[in-house]
């Protein structure tokens, strides 16, 4: 068996492979060197794995490229895979998220982009179509950019229905129950410390959302201050931050197989945005946020770095693997749900995204 770890950075993409059930990893040569890779996916739904990468060609603009041979060659749609229709007057600034849909919809891939927009491909990521229902939402003109830009950075399609959940900075969580035609904000209970009280219907800066293995109605949100859980599909959120050393952070990752298990990577904020006491650690819950356990064997002390929203992910193997990439170019892998980590890479450019998959 081979496990693949795709590492998107500010200056290129690296692929690491493990042939011994994730005990050791071999880092390959850089792909797409000098191009920012802020989004990547490893799509294994159709047999031959397809790597999709959302790239920014430096001065020359953003697009999505794809490889069907694990990086040996890359293809680019001539007219652009993500291209705003002329009537919008908009232009793509960055691809923030590439998310394959369920195995029952093997050609569907979603993209979250800047400016705030959601896109859907029905050909495996060669061409994406703007989801008009969200683009035309009356709230959109008032969604403000976060520090990294105004983007739909999280897309979570429900494998068993037409529900699609997105999160954006800022804007918060929006849910569609009909595949993207109608959208409603789902932020009740999520704080917005940068706005006057009470928290608004929308406008939160939700950094990441993950769906629990128990089912689509239970989700976790790492907010711009605060970690929250919903048990009703986002109708109401409650804090689950008690017990964490800090409630700021960017990623939240849910186990794909074990209900109630999720991970966050806290940062001291708002100004510093570094790990508490400079010790890089993950926090894991086994009880849907009622309690948290610090894990860090193999993670560094004196680590004044940060883990960005897509730079932490889980795999689908058993036991679940967890992967963490840092802004100082290190990547750590755990094959035991975060108990212990090994160093996969160091001295890379800032890690923006990691994604792992078993490719054969």
């Amino acid at each position: 068996m081979t496990d693949l770890l795709a590492i998107g950075t500010r200056k290129g993409l690296w692929l690491a492979r493990s042939d011994d059930d994730r005990r050791t990893w071999t880092l390959g040569e850089p792909h797409l060197l000098a191009q920012e890779v802020a989004a990547v996916s490893v799509d294994t739904r159709r047999g031959r794995p397809r790597v999709l990468a959302g790239v920014q060609y430096g001065h020359w603009g953003p697009t999505v490229v794809r490889s069907d041979d694990l990086g040996a060659s890359w293809q680019e749609t001539d007219s652009g895979a993500v291209r705003f229709p002329a009537d919008t007057g908009a232009a793509l600034a960055r691809v923030w998220q590439l998310r394959p849909d369920t195995t029952d919809r093997p050609d569907v891939v979603w993209a979250g982009c800047e400016p705030h927009s959601l896109w859907r491909s029905t050909d495996g990521g060669c061409r994406f179509e703007l989801v008009r229902g969200l683009w035309d939402h009356p709230h959109r003109p008032t969604w403000a950019p976060g520090g990294g830009g105004g983007a739909v950075h999280t897309v979570v399609p429900d494998p068993a229905s037409d529900r699609v959940v997105v999160a954006m900075s800022t804007g918060g969580v929006y849910v569609s129950e009909d595949g993207g035609r109608e959208w409603a904000p789902h932020n009740t209970g999520i704080s917005a410390v940068f706005l006057p009280e009470p928290p608004p219907e929308y406008g939160q800066c939700v950094h990441k959302v993950a769906v629990d293995a128990a089912g689509p109605d239970r989700m976790y949100a790492q907010n711009h201050f605060g970690v929250f859980r919903t048990d009703d599909g986002g109708q109401a959120w409650t804090s689950i931050a008690e017990g964490l050393p800090a409630d700021f952070g960017f990623p939240v990752v849910a186990s794909p197989s074990t209900p109630g298990t999720a991970w966050v990577v806290p940062l001291v904020a708002d100004v510093q945005r570094v790990p508490p006491q400079g010790r890089l650690r993950v926090q894991r819950t086994r009880d849907a946020g009622a309690s948290w356990t610090e894990l860090g064997a193999g993670l560094p002390d004196a680590a004044w770095t940060a883990v960005l929203r897509d730079a932490c992910c889980a795999d689908d193997a058993d036991p679940t693997g967890l992967y963490v990439g840092t802004r100082d170019g290190c990547v750590y892998a755990s094959a035991d749900e975060g108990e212990t980590f090994t160093l996969v890479a160091e001295h890379l450019p800032d890690v923006l995204v990691v994604r792992a998959a078993r490719v054969d």
């Binding site: 060609y57 020359w60 007057g89």
Partner: protein, 93 residues
């Protein structure tokens, strides 16, 4: 008479390796010229302009040595025999 387009080396892989293109005829605007280029080299065009038709922020275009941002932008007239140079601006890190 054709217009000569000079590209930076980093874009040459989008034109079959050539940094020098001849586009015929001249006399139109820079926008017209880029439209003609786009019909043959669509990926090259997307490096220079976004899908809304604007020059990318860090891409500079010179017509006979003059920065079009200080002239007529995409409406700058490109005379017969002109040299149009595409250069990346000073940016990055």
């Amino acid at each position: 008479m054709a217009v000569r387009v000079v590209l930076p080396g980093v874009l040459a892989d989008l034109t079959g390796g050539s940094r020098h293109l001849e586009v015929d005829p001249g006399g139109g605007t820079l926008g017209d010229l880029l439209d003609a280029l786009a019909a043959v080299h669509p990926r090259l065009d997307r490096r220079i302009r976004d899908e809304a038709g604007a020059l990318r922020r860090f891409v500079n275009v010179y017509v006979d040595g003059d920065d079009v941002r200080h002239a007529g932008g995409l409406g700058t007239v490109v005379p017969d025999g002109a040299v149009v140079q595409v250069l990346p601006s000073v940016a990055g890190g």
